[in-house]
Point group: C2
Chain length 155, copies 2
Amino acid sequence: MSVRLDEMDRKILGELQEDASQSLDEIAGKVGSSKTPVWNRIRKMKEAGVIGRQTVLLDPEALGLEACFFVLIRTSEHEAEWQKKFLATLRARPEVMEAHRLAGDIDYILKVRVKNARAYDTFYQALISEVKIYNVTALLSMEEIKSTTSMPLQP
Amino acid sequence: MSVRLDEMDRKILGELQEDASQSLDEIAGKVGSSKTPVWNRIRKMKEAGVIGRQTVLLDPEALGLEACFFVLIRTSEHEAEWQKKFLATLRARPEVMEAHRLAGDIDYILKVRVKNARAYDTFYQALISEVKIYNVTALLSMEEIKSTTSMPLQP
DNA sequence: CCTGAAAACAGACCCCC
DNA sequence: GGGGGTCTGTTTTCAGG
């Protein structure tokens, strides 16, 4: 699945990650090329699936989403049926921004964005009422030190 | 800091979060309005800081970033000087995609994207050589169940 | 506050080097 | 594979209802 990218491709990806509203001419200038080659490379990387959706980043504070929790989940259930229901629940809940299945004694980690602690509790109650969970630890974020969607582009 | 948004604003934000490459006409059609009003609302929300950067989402697998770790950190140091250095280190490292200061007995959580376990170890060694850390637990993601940049837009 | 038109601009695709 | 030009559609602005 991994694709071969050269230095120029990585520079273009860097620019797009930083600001996708730039024009082709601007990007071309910064990476030291011109419109058409940049456009062709972008098209190829879109086809190859390297470049995915284009989106805007919203400010959670401005939207009144002032609480962010990381939720560590241990479960005793490891059957396909249970897992299917659990995943469907997570995918259906917009406040779940990330969910990973883990290796080790903690089975899942979630990142949950909500208005406040009360809204988290509502989410938590809904979750445990839908699927059986053995143990839950919620870690409350006090400060977002860093948050980026930019993938590291090492050579 | 929180801004007043009506139903139309939230619909527009939803469309932009889903696909920021849509034309104004497309968005206007979907939200039941037309070009100019949609454009004015977007401009206002940008000025208010609700809408931030525009970016593209890259596929980590396609870039060869096949490992994702959540790192739980406990420290014995709580002085300003130590913290300053720690934050600077995290901000300087591109593999650190998220970093939060937490409430409770775990002090920090990081999300780290790397090529493989070996690359994580390199990062880990660099981190502990730069700042003193009391206890580190790394949680390895086996499967990204959900990952979205879309904030929940409840009324 | 919206509609509609007009001007400035950028993207998509060409052929030539 | 890169450079330049052209056509088309989109963004941005503005006059008027």
